[in-house]
Amino acid sequence: MSFQQHSLDPSLHEAPPFLDLTEANKIDDHGHPPSYYDLLTPAERRYIEQRQKIDMKRLAKTSSKSHRDRIQEFNQYLANLSEHYDIPKIKDGCDSLENEDNLECYTSGNSSGWHQSNPSLSLISHNPSVPVSKGTQMGSMADALSTGLWNLPTESSSLGLCKNSLQENSNQISIGGVHFQAGSGTLQPSSSHFPSDSAFIERAAGFSCIDASNLGGMMVLFGAGVSPNSHPNASRMNSGVVADAAFSTDHGSKNGSAVKVQKEKDNFDGVAALSSESSLPDFTGAHQEHPTGNSSKMKMKRLNEDMRLEEAKVASQISGDNMEFEHIAENSSSGKQAKDSTESSNEDVIHVRARRGQATNSHSLAERVRREKINERMKLLQDLVPGCSKVTGKAVMLDEIINYVQSLQQQVEFLSMKLAAINPFANMDTEAVISRYSCDGPSYTKSGFSADIAHPQLHPSQQDLIQAGLSDIVNPADLFRRSINTQMAAVHGSKMQVHNAWDEELHDVMQMAYSSSVNLDSHRVHQ
């Protein structure tokens, strides 16, 4: 075998797939071990060359990308992913949004806090005297946590929310008073005790809803969660605490308590509760990182793993009582941990969280918001249109809606023709009509009556009405008629003239009209 000139770099590190390495051991004429290149067939050589070229190109492309480019590409990829698995199932009585907002993850701030905590975290039970008093700063709490202040009784993990310790003061972070009730406590009753502290409630909810095995982690998160961020993000954070706790459970649990949590969050809206100025600086830092796409996701992942670790450790210590609230962790199957996707109704700006595995592209977020809005409206329409409860699918639904609107319009036409036909023959017994119609139970929405309407001459045909029994509706209608008569000397043809002439005035009058105008002059009417 002769040496061949080749342009290849003979120092390929990877073992070429074709080579039978035993041949390389033979020493060639010139004293060099035969390079594997020589032992390849031409086809193999071509293959290797091509592969090298492709690799070079790929590596060059990859290395030239900046971090930002990578993030953007990833976002693009996520944006193009199908949302099939993200569409929440609508459960009875639950809003879709409630089901969605499960879990949020903290970013590195939490993870660092996590690491700081004593791995053998244990929880205090039944100890209301834990010295976490009012206004305790988060720093001290973190210290408390990290020093293993919390001892978990091994015999019983009776943890329950101590409602007494929770004050209206939103700065109140009395973890010491927090008990975790085993098995019994649902979240709802506790909410009444601290209505102003939605964030706290959420955390408490999170705690109460978390399986015992996760309580260690919960404590840390609780500490971490009481973040100084004094803006609506805080509430989302705290749901994130809950969520974090939630999905770190190993038990596949139900979604219900997540719903509960969300409901409570809704109850205490607009609370930038934790204005406690305590600082978890790393947490604030973490919070800032939320907008970043991939990095947050990766950190979330790390955090999840960390939490699982801790949870495993804690689980060994805590007797795994099944709390009733473990059903919060229902949605926390380890598969797809979703981020919260709520819209905070606090401000005009819509805050939307991206779910994990979804793009944080502003476009896709806005699109998702829009999609949810449209779904909401479609549900409304479904209720309105009769016989549409079983219909699923936008196209069929739209068809039904279109048919219904058309049928209603046709009915209006038909009835107007009928009215036109029968009208000249019958004296308008309007008051009877009105009274009959009003018996169906409409209620007045307007109030106040303008007494400034002049007394016009009564049209003779309306005197029947006037002399009839007075219902509340009758009077305003009557007075309208009178006002019309005053204003329009000659009423011809189209009522549109009337409308044009004084539509604004009419509007105002009508708005003032419907009072319970009992004092509305019966004597006037009877003139």
Binding site: M417, A426, M428, I473, S494, Q497, D503
Partner: protein, 149 residues
């Protein structure tokens, strides 16, 4: 045709609109006027007028908040100024293959004021429009029943 004061996009209104007594009063007022003035005109024209009265009263009771009522009012108002019949362009029969019906477009044509809205808003307005229409139909039904009885 955007209303001056649009109802918020946040929550689709689930209030107890439409206010029936308002609508009833409106409609009856118009009816009575029609009855007074146009006893001699044909059934057709009177029916047209009644129909317009129905829509007008409905739109009035809906208020200026809703886009469809606003558009409806404007349309009705402008009708008075201009004759309704516009010279139609002669339609050239194009070999069209309608593959897919754009239902949103159909809905836009049905609901007054629907052409200027995005889909989300359109759905909201449709819901409100359906509510008002249903009330109006019920009202007219009651009127005809009471009159004919």
């Amino acid at each position: 045709m955007e209303p001056k004061s649009c109802s918020g996009d946040g929550n689709p209104s689930r209030n107890l609109h439409p206010s029936k007594p308002l609508m009833a009063a409106n409609f009856l007022r118009c009816l009575s006027r029609i009855q007074q003035t146009a006893t001699n005109s044909s059934v057709g024209s009177r029916s047209r007028r009644i129909r317009r009265a129905a829509y007008a009263s409905m739109a009035y009771s809906a208020g200026h908040r809703r886009a469809w009522s606003w558009a409806l009012l404007r349309k009705l108002r402008c009708r008075r100024v201009r004759p309704v019949i516009l010279p139609r362009r002669p339609r050239i029969a194009r070999p069209q293959v309608v593959i897919e019906i754009d239902r949103a477009e159909v809905l836009r044509k049905l609901v007054p004021g629907g052409t200027g809205m995005d889909y989300c808003r359109l759905l909201e307005e449709t819901a409100d429009y359906i509510r008002c229409l249903a009330t109006q139909v019920r009202l007219m039904q009651t009127v005809t029943d009471s009159i004919s009885s």
